[in-house]
């Protein structure tokens, strides 16, 4: 139980010399994780003031930005860490690809990484709606309209007519909790943004870091 504990495996007992060379890893995975921790902590702090309802969300954001001490700092840290995380996770993926680190025995961890980049983008997407301003509402309108065209699941996509899928029950309406971006959508995105996706991503991150060690540590230079 103790020896198998994942926390004891986060830091390896020994490292190979190349693995600490900045030029090899760019430290991108580590920076991504650090940024994730920043968004996690600042996100929890923001939750003390933010109410995910149509009447309050926008005014709570204004309150945070203009009245709450350090509110603007915390909110901007959350925002910039989130933006940066999308960039660093892509650079990390690029590095892993260019050094061939996706090859066996690390192919499983590459797949975990693909899921992680997906969750990163979903966090970004769901967080976009929460300010509840015009930009947020129209951005989510535009993005969710693309889901109308999902094959088999969207009401304007391939096979929708054959399967009898209407706009009331399809991939877009499950996302929006209705047929338009409305307060119900805000609540749904909030739960996904603060609970579902972070927990899923954190569990996959634990798996990701544990697999690095299981697969023989950070890969060597080609």
């Amino acid at each position: 139980m103790i020896l198998g504990n994942v926390w004891l495996h986060l830091h390896p007992p020994k490292m190979r010399r190349h693995a600490v060379r900045i030029k090899f890893t760019w430290c991108m995975g580590g920076i991504t994780f650090l940024l994730f921790l920043v968004t996690l902590v600042t996100g929890v702090v923001l939750m003390f003031y933010y109410r995910p309802t149509g009447e309050y969300a926008y005014y709570d954001l204004k309150y945070l930005m203009h009245d709450v001490p350090f509110g603007a700092v915390v909110r901007n840290m959350h925002r910039w860490a989130a933006h940066s995380m999308v960039i660093t996770v892509m650079l990390h993926m690029f590095r892993v690809f260019m050094t061939g680190s996706y090859k066996p025995p690390r192919e499983f961890n590459w797949v975990v990484g693909i899921l992680l980049i997906t969750f990163t983008l979903l966090l970004s997407f769901t967080g976009y709606l929460l300010p509840w301003d015009q930009l947020a509402i129209w951005a989510i309108t535009v993005a969710s309209n693309m889901a109308r065209a999902t094959p088999l699941l969207g009401h304007e996509g391939p096979f929708a007519a054959q399967l009898g899928i209407g706009s009331r029950y399809d991939a877009r309406s499950i996302m929006l909790a209705g047929t338009i971006v409305a307060p119900a959508t805000l609540l749904r995105f909030y739960v996904l943004h603060c609970i579902v996706i972070p927990i899923a991503a954190a569990m996959l991150m634990i798996l990701h870091f544990w697999r690095i060690r299981k697969d023989g540590g950070i890969s060597g230079p080609l």
């Binding site: 535009v142 209705g178 409305a182």
Partner: protein
């Protein structure tokens, strides 16, 4: 010597039959095992257990999926009354119901009369603006332009603006129903309900 060679040769014959694994799993003496069952009792129970586990999980999953589609939506009523037909002179596009309903009411004699044009850009759903001096609808998001009739002629919009169902209520007012749409690309613009003869 001869006997030794004989034992060496008879050894493979004496090898126990390959039932060993079964004995070990069940922990039962061989005489209580019978070979004419495909499944042992343990197989049966463990498969039943898995079936129950996965079964209840999928029932719960389907229930959750249904849970995510509420029966009642708190959304604006798709139908609304838009005044009397004589409020819209021929050849005009009215922006009166843009803020509340996102609909232009246009009186276009060459289209058969009054039409209710949806102010939802067919590119990705922003609200275009009616530019009266240029006689076109122009989308601020990515620059799509539509003629007075709603035909896309510039920018990324892939198809003409949609039209809503238009008719008359009992009191003689125009009744617009935004739950039924008429698409030009499906040849639906001439259909009854897509325009109101005046």
């Amino acid at each position: 010597m001869a006997s030794e060679a004989a034992t060496a040769q008879s050894n493979p014959v004496k090898r126990p039959p390959p039932k060993k694994k079964k004995e070990r799993i069940l922990g039962l003496p061989p005489d209580r095992l019978s070979d004419d069952h495909i499944w042992t009792r343990r197989d049966f129970f463990s498969l039943t257990g898995w079936a129950m586990f996965l079964g209840s999980l999928s029932v719960g999953g389907i229930g959750f999926l249904r849970f995510m589609f509420p029966r009642v939506l708190f959304e604006p009523d798709p139908t609304f009354k838009a005044g009397f037909p004589n409020e819209y002179p021929p050849g005009t596009v009215s922006e009166k119901y843009i803020p509340s309903q996102r609909v232009w009411i246009a009186n276009l004699p060459e289209e058969g009369g009054l039409v209710a044009i949806s102010a939802i850009c067919t590119h990705l759903g922003c609200t275009p603006r009616w530019l009266a001096s240029e006689e076109k609808y122009k989308c601020p998001c990515h620059g799509s332009g539509f003629t007075k009739e709603g035909i896309n002629f510039e920018g990324p919009a892939p198809r003409p603006l949609e039209r809503w169902k238009i008719g008359l209520a009992e009191d003689g007012q125009i009744l617009i129903d935004k739950s039924k749409k008429y698409l030009s690309e499906k040849g639906e613009w001439g259909k009854p309900g897509s325009y109101l003869p005046v």
